[in-house]
Amino acid sequence: MIACCAEKTYAGTTIADLVSRGSVSRTTFYKLFTDKRDCFDAAVTLCIERLAATLAAGADGCDSPAEATRRGAAAGLELLAAEPELTLVLSGDVLGVDPTLVDRYSRMLVPALERLWGQAGVPPRKHSSPGLAFGRAQLLVFHEVAAGRPERLPALAPNIVYLAIFPFAGHEEALRQAQLAKDEPGVEVPA
């Protein structure tokens, strides 16, 4: 599904494409999914789970929520850069198929960030929302992918780190972490 959408967009993808690419029979397809949209939703969920796992792995073993956010963001961007198909579907097709899906993946990713800071006793500050920060980060990622430059995603790390930390720790700390992210070498993507 992901490969088909990246190649010919969701609208251009047929069940025939899916069964041929997936090497399964039509009968098997309909045992697993009710229709094309159902299959798309399942594919998007898988992509987000993969992204969430990458963020968590990147953040593992860090001393502070700021460092965890910074390393998680860098690992996430590496994954998105390494898998342009996944990124294209998450940032482009999803909006076309159903803009409310963006809400769904913000609900899957943002609580993890809030937990990370919540455990350290830092709730989101007044007048800033992690959910909005997520939307802004997505906009930046979309900007690079839509321009056909997925390989440049890791260079967004300072911006994404700033956006993710700002709602909790404020401008000055977010800027400090963004500077650190800029100076850090790339993070390996877990297989």
């Binding site: 482009g92 930046l140 956006l163």
Partner: protein, 232 residues
């Protein structure tokens, strides 16, 4: 013959003595407005030429004299709306006062525009994503034009940040906030967000304290500035 469902300046039938250019201009405007409305209500997939014609009260032949197809009409409607909004932002930003006052007035004007016509807002930001890569490109170009407008009027006293592009962060803050509210169907309440969005927009330029002071200060300038807010 389809009757116009809305009379957005529909011309009288029969002999009305108007010059042909004016008739064409009126038809074009009605078709663009209709395309935006139908698309916002039904999504791009549900937008057929027949529905645009019914909404605009224009005949099929006139439509095809003006536009190649549904896609061309919808994309042009989008372009016209985006141009209007960018012009509104440019005028508000060029208004009187200190730079922070001009920023606040610009944000107020932007939010008023989306609140005054939530359907147009929905069309501008949400409905066309289904078109795919071409919409992505237009979205990109629109984003860059907003950044250019804001950059062209920056206060020269502002500290320059080499690390982060403050203007992109500020424009991104405004677009994501508006997008979120419009997509959730809360466009009409956007003007209540002037203070918090002003804070979000100013903070990358000014830092915490100055941004808070400028956004939430209970001065006569805070919030909407009468006469500087333009809707629709």
């Amino acid at each position: 013959v389809t009757r116009p469902t809305a009379s957005i300046g529909a011309l009288p039938r029969g002999r009305h003595g108007l010059p042909r250019e004016e008739v064409i201009r009126s038809q074009r405007e009605r078709l663009l407005a209709a395309a935006a409305r139908v698309c916002a209500e039904r999504g791009y997939d549900g937008t057929t030429v027949a529905r645009i014609l019914a909404e605009a009260g224009v005949g099929r032949e006139s439509f095809y004299e003006l536009f190649e197809d549904r896609r061309a009409c919808v994309l042009e409607a989008h372009q016209v709306l985006l141009d209007n909004l960018i012009e509104l932002v440019r005028v508000a930003y060029a208004g009187p006062g200190e730079w922070v006052d001009r920023c606040r007035a610009t944000i107020a004007a932007l939010l008023e525009w989306f609140a005054a016509d939530p359907l147009s807002g929905r069309f501008l930001l949400v409905s066309l994503a289904a078109i795919g890569p071409e919409f992505h490109e237009r979205f990109e170009a629109g984003f860059d034009r907003f950044v250019a407008v804001i950059d062209s009027g920056l206060d020269p006293e502002l500290p320059a940040s080499e690390l982060l592009p403050a203007t992109s962060l500020a424009v991104g803050a405004a677009i994501s906030r508006v997008y979120g509210e419009v997509a959730a169907g809360r466009g009409a309440e956007l003007p209540t967000l002037v203070p918090s969005l002003t804070y979000e927009v100013l903070v990358p330029f000014l830092g915490e304290d100055a941004a808070k002071a400028a956004a939430f200060a209970e001065t006569p300038h805070a919030g909407r500035l009468p006469g500087e807010v333009r809707g629709g």
